[in-house]
Amino acid sequence: MSSMSSVLSAAEYLKTHPAARQVFDAIARASSISGWGLAKSLSIQPDDLQMILQDLRTEGLIQADTPELLDAFLYPSALGFRTGSFVS
């Protein structure tokens, strides 16, 4: 279970990385979205998006259903849901 310090650390990360915040918000808002779907809807270059998604996954904010992030469907993790309600 995500502790309060993890939530604060993740919130700080989103606050200091606006591009990551934009991608995270799009994942949280969507009913279901893949890496390619995000690239299309946010008009972000796939290579740049892949790096942002890797960082978000490293921070523990998102989960993916396949290891290849652009081909995967993405969704917020439990920490992502808690952080999302904390920063909104």
Partner: protein, 218 residues
């Protein structure tokens, strides 16, 4: 006979209470999951419902007396009074559980709010994972339909893949290289490359892929 009538009345009260708990939780989860099917097939959601429903039943028991409902004194309709008490009990339980903490000597000794928020987040993650699994299944069935068409129609694959992936920001030269690698491959490698290319179409844009499949089949 009177006992049976009382039992039926009491059972229907608790059934309504559990139904109200379920409706409240589905309403709470829906904006973040956007699929009732995914919510209702998530085991963590059922655990949350069982806990909230049980506490709701206790709260309902505490605010009703043996034979009468306090709300009946102000609402002149028995069923409406029952629904009002069920609603108040449900709202009360959720309000208390989502904000309850007990401090002693400046330390939080009981923090139900944190526990509920953590478990709710775990249940939301599980429900979204379930939604993704359902969407992956839908993408898979579209992919299977498109694959059978593209396997014998490279021109159609080139047109559709280029259009969809170009909109997703993939560079034209990368698209060209991927399609060339597919057409020049053979055997198992060819099958794998075709799977990779076709899979990306519904994954990138499910609605568009559905339309493409319909059009190509026509």
């Amino acid at each position: 006979m009177r006992h049976f009538a009382c039992w039926v009345m009491e059972s229907s009260s608790y059934f309504g209470l559990w139904a109200m708990s379920l409706a409240y939780l589905v309403f709470d989860f829906f904006p973040q999951v956007k699929s009732v099917a995914a919510i209702l097939t998530t085991p963590a959601f059922w655990i949350l419902w069982a806990v909230f429903g049980f506490l709701n039943a206790i709260a309902f028991g505490l605010i009703t007396t043996r034979d009468t409902l306090p709300a009946a004194a102000i609402i002149n309709a028995p069923h409406l009074a029952l629904a009002a008490v069920q609603f108040l009990s449900t709202i009360g339980v959720y309000s208390v559980l989502q904000s309850f903490s007990l401090q002693f000597a400046g330390q939080r000794v009981v923090d139900v709010e944190k526990l509920v928020a953590s478990f709710r987040a775990e249940a939301l993650e599980a429900a979204r994972a379930r939604k993704v699994a359902l969407d992956r299944g839908r993408a898979g069935s579209i992919e299977a339909g498109l694959r059978s068409i593209y396997k014998n129609d490279f021109q159609a694959l080139t047109e559709d893949y280029t259009r969809v992936m170009h909109l997703a920001g993939l560079k034209v030269e990368t698209i060209e290289a991927q399609l060339n690698a597919y057409i020049q491959s053979a055997g198992l490698e060819r099958e794998l490359r075709l799977t990779e290319l076709v899979m990306r179409i519904p994954v990138t844009d499910m609605e568009n892929a559905r339309r493409l499949l319909k059009r190509r089949r026509a």
